[in-house]
């Protein structure tokens, strides 16, 4: 390979690889990748999941968070009937014409938690990791087994290597930084809200839900994982209710453009046929 071709190859490789490596360097355990059926060119929202997610959002999230860019009435778009929408709105002391605002006012929220709970309308677009991030936060709190591990480790005030490795795999902490791990454990025992995937590990929000928090009427198992998946799907819809319209229009636009471009290329070849170039 001559030097020019080599340099060109390197330049091309740089273009392709650099953005990827830039994305991968944020620290902490990697966000578990979930399967989101609505992503991809032909992906569709699953209305049953969106409805379950909306129920979780109203019964759990809206205790503190608003979803201000969505009105209750819009929930009909994901398959709720009018009486269902009215019931959901009334459960939050709203009418169906109202925006999905939390009953908790920002001032008292700040008094209780130290921060105003962020609006969730754009949550799945507003964090690195997108839907995976929201799902990871909801499922990244300590399990009962994790808590027992923390208590066991802290009982003798000593951290041996085996315990360190157990902690690293359970909590995603860095086993090479024992001092930091000890401080983390101390904060957990003092009641800090530990989350494996939150940058810095401690956040103002206590664990919002655990297995069985919301009862589902359609027979789907209401495990934490399932509820997190459903509510994240719902929030993805709330972040961009025009997503399906965008993608279906996109498929038509692309088909049109392929035909147009092929025809333009054919005309170009025809016109240039006589020219030596």
């Amino acid at each position: 390979m001559n030097p020019i071709a080599f340099l060109r190859t390197v330049a091309l490789a740089a273009v392709l690889v650099l953005p990827l490596s830039a994305r991968a360097s944020s620290g902490g355990p990697p966000l578990p990748q979930q399967n989101w059926g609505f992503l991809g060119i032909f992906g569709q929202f699953d209305n049953a999941a969106l409805k379950r997610g909306a129920t979780v959002a109203v019964q759990v999230c809206m205790a503190c968070h608003s979803i201000k860019y969505i009105k209750f009435d819009q929930l009909k778009q994901i398959g709720f009937s009018d009486p269902e929408v009215i019931a959901l709105a009334e459960s939050q002391s709203h009418t169906k014409k109202d925006r999905m605002l939390s009953a908790m006012d920002p001032t008292s929220a700040k008094d209780s938690f130290g921060v105003v709970p962020p609006d969730l309308s754009l949550m799945t677009k507003a964090r690195k990791g997108y839907e995976d991030y929201t799902h990871a936060i909801l499922t990244g709190y300590l399990t009962d087994a994790d808590r027992q591990l923390v208590d066991r480790v802290m009982a003798d005030q000593k951290l041996d290597e085996k315990e360190m490795l157990e902690l690293a795999s359970a909590l995603g902490v860095d086993a090479h930084q024992p001092d930091k791990v000890k401080e983390t454990l101390k904060r957990i025992q003092e009641g800090g809200n530990f989350n494996k995937y939150f940058p810095g590990n401690f956040l103002a929000m206590p664990q919002p839900m655990s297995d069985g928090a919301v009862s589902y009427s359609d027979g789907v198992e209401n495990s934490l994982k399932q509820m997190a998946h459903d509510v994240t799907s719902f929030l993805a819809w709330a972040a961009e209710p025009t997503l399906m319209e965008r993608k279906s229009l996109g498929v038509n636009v692309m088909l049109y453009l392929v035909v147009l471009t092929v025809m333009l290329f054919a005309v170009k070849r025809r016109i240039w046929a006589k020219v030596e170039h």
Binding site: I4, L7, A11, I41, L122, A126, Y130, L249, G250, F265
Partner: protein
């Protein structure tokens, strides 16, 4: 009938003559390759940007309390508002891609050389205007990155001696980035594209006076090797537009947020600085150059700003730095090698600019600031070396063809 109408018009406004002399009989070299598509492509994108921007402006409100919400109103409530916004936001990205390729094409084939210096200079002026326009446009959605990006970049003015501090307050219209800043940025963001359009006209005027350069970089004999712009390059450019639209629309419809920072979907909050402020990708190499000058104590900031501006302004003197008797790098082996090093260097600078200033690689063994400094030196080194190898005849150009 139509002939007599046209005669009547031509007697008053010679349109037919203009069309003839500038398109159907305007001579162009027959050997232009596809790298020559990006100039007209950039014009096409400029028109897309002006049209989508115009319709966005009909719904937007430059008010610090409403701007973020009104962008979501456009995304959700305005008919095809999401399409307008995604076309506009991604259009900026592709505008810069087209312009960067266009500039690099000019650098590779020596399109800046005599007699095209003025053509080249107006191109650089367009580039400067584009950067100002893009920067102010990015502020308008009033997200966290909009706000803090504006704060960081406007703050750079404070490095200017004596008047810097007052100048920043004057630009802000207050003592911090705020509502007055947003208002004036919107006014300027609306105005500047039309200024760009006017300068593009001058750019094309200069082009049509001296005609297109070509991959061989020799002056063609248009009688033998010229073909009229229409239909040959009209159809070739249209085909290029088709290919471009395929890529552009793939992003607009299927990955519209790929080039956007998630943080910009968080409303601007003057009380909370994001962990990591990054400009849009097209500013990253220059941002890296700015940050790489950190070893001059209290002069670092000013020196960084000067280096950043100089990184583009040095293009103005490129026609005089390059002393080779040959224009095109096709026949200049040494120039061609340092050119590709320069291109790779720009990508590495961009990557350094994307990362936090204190980032390291290989467990701290490689601070990125050192990479940034090295790459900044290589960036400017290109221009010095190009002058050096051509002014002292170190490069032996290959023989040129007699004709295209």
């Amino acid at each position: 009938m139509s002939k007599s109408i046209m005669e009547w018009v031509d007697a008053r406004l010679p349109i037919t003559e203009l069309v003839k002399s500038q398109t159907t009989e305007y001579p162009t070299p027959r050997n232009l390759n596809y790298w020559w598509n990006f100039g007209s492509l950039a014009l096409f994108i400029l028109i897309v940007m002006i049209l989508t921007g115009l319709f966005l402006a009909m719904h937007y409100k430059p008010d610090a309390n409403q701007a973020f919400d009104v962008v979501e109103h456009i995304m959700r409530d305005v008919n095809y508002g999401w399409l307008l916004r995604y076309l506009h936001a991604n259009g900026a990205t592709f505008f810069f891609m087209a312009i960067y390729i266009h500039i690099l094409r000019g650098m590779y084939y020596g399109s800046y050389r005599a007699p095209r210096e003025i053509l080249w200079w107006f191109g650089i002026i367009i580039f400067f205007l584009m950067m100002a326009t893009a920067f102010m446009g990015y502020v308008l959605p009033w997200g966290q990155m909009s706000y803090w990006g504006a704060a960081v970049i406007t703050n750079l003015m404070s490095a200017i001696p004596v008047v810097g501090g007052d100048l920043v307050v004057w630009i802000w219209g207050g003592f911090a980035v705020g509502d007055p800043t947003l208002n004036r940025f919107f006014a300027l963001h609306f105005l500047l594209p039309f200024v760009i359009f006017a300068v593009v006209f001058i750019h094309m005027w200069a082009l049509h006076a001296v005609h297109s350069n070509n991959p061989d970089g020799i002056d063609p004999d248009f009688k033998k090797d010229g073909i009229p712009f229409h239909p040959y390059y009209v159809i070739k450019d249209l085909y290029g537009v088709g290919v471009f639209l395929l890529v552009y629309c793939a992003f607009v419809f299927f990955q519209p947020n790929f080039f956007l920072e998630p943080d910009n979907y968080i409303p601007a909050n003057p009380m909370q600085t994001p962990a990591h402020i990054v400009p849009e990708w097209y500013f990253l190499p220059f941002y890296a150059i700015l940050r790489s000058i950190d070893f001059l104590g209290s002069y670092s900031k000013l020196a960084g700003v000067i280096a950043m501006v100089l990184a583009i302004a040095i293009l103005f003197v490129l026609p005089f730095l390059d002393r080779s008797p040959v224009r095109s790098f096709r026949y200049r082996p040494l120039s061609r090698q340092i050119f590709w090093i320069f291109v790779i260097d720009c990508f590495i600078l961009g990557w350094v600019g994307y990362n936090p200033a204190d980032a390291t690689r290989f467990n701290g063994a490689l601070p990125l600031i050192a990479v940034g400094r090295t790459c900044t030196a290589i960036y400017f080194g290109y221009f010095v070396l190009l002058w050096f190898i051509t002014a002292f005849d170190i490069e032996k150009p290959k023989p040129l063809p007699k004709s295209l």
